[in-house]
Symmetry: C2
Subunit: 398 residues, 2 copies
């Protein structure tokens, strides 16, 4: 039997606080503005990927995600494979003793530890894990920055999942995308008490895909240029300073304003794109009410290209934020785990919110299907747990 | 018994196709951008106002609207009274034989022919009627343009209700507002086949008032300046040309884009302002579907500071637009009148829309409480029907 080479990693989801929306080069996934995200803990949300190659594999590269074969012929996946193989080939060309992995077919097996139905953008974790796993397999000396340049071509926001903590993506200006890479603003340890609760909202139907949506926005929104050229550059600076200073009030305000700005340009698209629905708006109202009850900004909402709310807060305000949501949504899936079990509400704050935002509370109860509690977390982690066995066959994770 | 002077007028509602949002001077209601509207037929929507004055009246000016006494001490109403009295005084100063009406207390009685519950912005028709009625009472030689300058100080958009047809409001640049007046782009006869259907959406609660809302937008939205300074000036030109050319496709596209742009700046406000709800979005989806079924743009939605949809269309497309809405909303109030009774649907178009926009059709059925069918119409009309009798007492209209 011929050699089977394997390497595995896990990679995190990230949720942007300054949104990526608009491509200046669709092929290379080069953005019209920089963006910034929080990497979420892989204990709660992660993609686990094993990359493997062997001369004995069928000649076509393959990818199995959650047990289903995926199409790898798309330009984005192909770009990642091509770039990683080229880097491996450089190593092989410089050292005759290395096995010629770059010439072997790839077999990749991937699993998410969260339900696809949650509607979380899984492509960021997916491409980050794919690129990191193949880089491990090929024993590339590439830095996370180098790999972020490759992962970006798979899915723009994937570049930010190569790092843990607080992560920026510099839009860059080079036509070939060489300077459009991710960078760490601060590691998770710098501000470790950042928490997030995801309110999963059941949408009647899938909205416009983000790739199609952002192209239409760039082409038709008359407000978009002001966002990309003026608003976001200013907020990138404000947000990096807020993170350095662990200034939650500024972090929160910029997060909420940027989410609103992004969705405003979607609404200004023609035809308009709506990702927020009445349940999303109820979540906004409740966050406003939580902050009003607290007398300061202790919670920040943000929404990606869908109706799910992500609410950031600090651990010390758990009762007033997660506890408040538990008092409304305690019957929903998601509270059973370690993070959710011990959560309790601050009664006084809850009573204020329930009065102030009664209609919104009802809408949220009706429209949220599950919650996910998580926190800021680390970047990709190498693992020995392989999703491909020694014979090259996929195995399920334990 | 002392003399009682009376004069009456009706005035129309107008619905903007380029929205007024943002004041550069809140006291004078001077806008941050020009706007443009269609004046709607007074057969369907009008305010009827009688202005009266007499030395025998109680010394306080008074206003009765739909039978309820209104506060006239507010700065806006006072500004209108003051300006109109000053103009009368000029006449009196130049002609001794004129009765000194400017010194008499005013008694004003006003009635709307549409339910307040409809949530239609009635202040435009209300202030236009108030100013026109007092101008009639005072026998002022003022032009509608002159009166628009006064009505603007009562309610910004009221200035556009001094004219019929297609009406612009030039933002002006003078600090005293002297050049911020309405003008007629084209009379109703120029393009008489313009129709509108108002879908009255029941809102869970009243949204943010437009005065508060627009001030917050100006203060906090980072996208607002681009709308006011770049987008609207361009669209004002496009819209005037579309009206001159009776080019419905351009009229419709600019109308929809401008409504979206206005609501986008509301969403970009901090905290965000939402006027559109899921029912409003369903109306947008159905208009998109009507246009798709027609293979061209035959319907245009627009939304003011609330969830109600106004859909413009041309008479020749009644079956595909009003007929379509009747097939969905035929059970609702509003179809019994002369305009609604004869409306029928185009079966083929209806079948396409019902399949293409099934979810939206359900939401609309659930969320629309009544419809109003109307058309482009005339400006204020002098009437002999008085809401105040010869003794100076309010009487109900016949």
């Amino acid at each position: 039997m011929s050699e089977i080479h394997r390497a595995s990693t896990t990679a995190p989801v990230n949720i942007a606080v300054i949104k990526y929306w608009g491509k200046r080069d669709p092929k290379l996934n080069l953005p019209t503005n920089s963006s910034l995200s929080v990497t979420l803990s892989q204990a709660d949300l992660r993609t686990h990927t094993t990359a493997s190659c062997s001369p004995s594999y069928p000649t076509e590269d393959s990818l199995l995600l959650n047990g289903s074969p995926q199409d790898v012929s798309g330009a984005r996946t192909q770009a990642c494979f091509r770039e990683l193989r080229a880097l491996r080939k450089q190593l092989e060309d410089g050292n005759d003793t290395l096995p010629k992995l770059s010439t072997f077919p790839l077999k990749i097996v991937s699993e998410n530890n969260f339900p696809t139905a949650a509607g979380l953008a899984s492509s960021a974790a997916g491409f980050a894990a794919l690129v990191r796993a193949i880089a491990n397999l090929y024993e590339l000396p590439s830095s996370p920055t180098d790999l972020s340049r490759i992962a970006r071509q798979g899915s723009g926001s994937a570049c930010r999942s190569l790092f843990g903590g607080y992560v920026g993506w510099e839009q860059g200006s080079a036509a070939d995308g060489s300077d459009s890479t991710a960078f760490q603003v601060a590691p998770a340890e710098h501000w470790p008490n950042m928490r997030a609760i995801v309110l999963v909202v059941s949408a009647a139907k899938k909205g416009v895909s983000s790739t199609t949506g952002m192209q239409t926005t760039v082409a038709t929104s008359s407000l978009f240029a002001a966002r990309a050229n003026e608003t976001v550059p200013r907020r990138m600076q404000e947000m990096q300073k807020a993170i350095q200073d662990k200034d939650f009030e500024t972090f929160a305000k910029v997060t909420m304003m940027d989410s609103n700005s992004f969705h405003a340009t979607c609404l200004d698209t023609y035809p308009p794109i709506f990702y927020l629905n009445d349940v999303s708006k109820a979540a906004i109202k409740i966050v406003e009410s939580i902050n009003a009850a607290a007398g300061k900004t202790i919670a920040a909402y943000t929404f990606d290209a869908g109706p799910n709310a992500v609410v950031y807060y600090l651990e010390e305000n758990e009762k007033q934020v997660a506890g408040l949501f538990k008092s409304i949504l305690g019957e929903k899936e998601g509270w059973a785990g370690q993070r959710g079990q011990g959560v309790t509400a601050n009664d006084e704050a809850r009573d204020k919110v329930v009065v102030d935002a009664a209609v919104a509370v009802g809408l949220l109860e009706e429209g949220v299907s599950r919650v996910i509690l998580t926190s800021v977390g680390e970047g990709p982690v190498k693992t020995d747990e392989s999703l491909i066995n020694e014979k090259g066959e996929p195995v399920s994770s334990s």
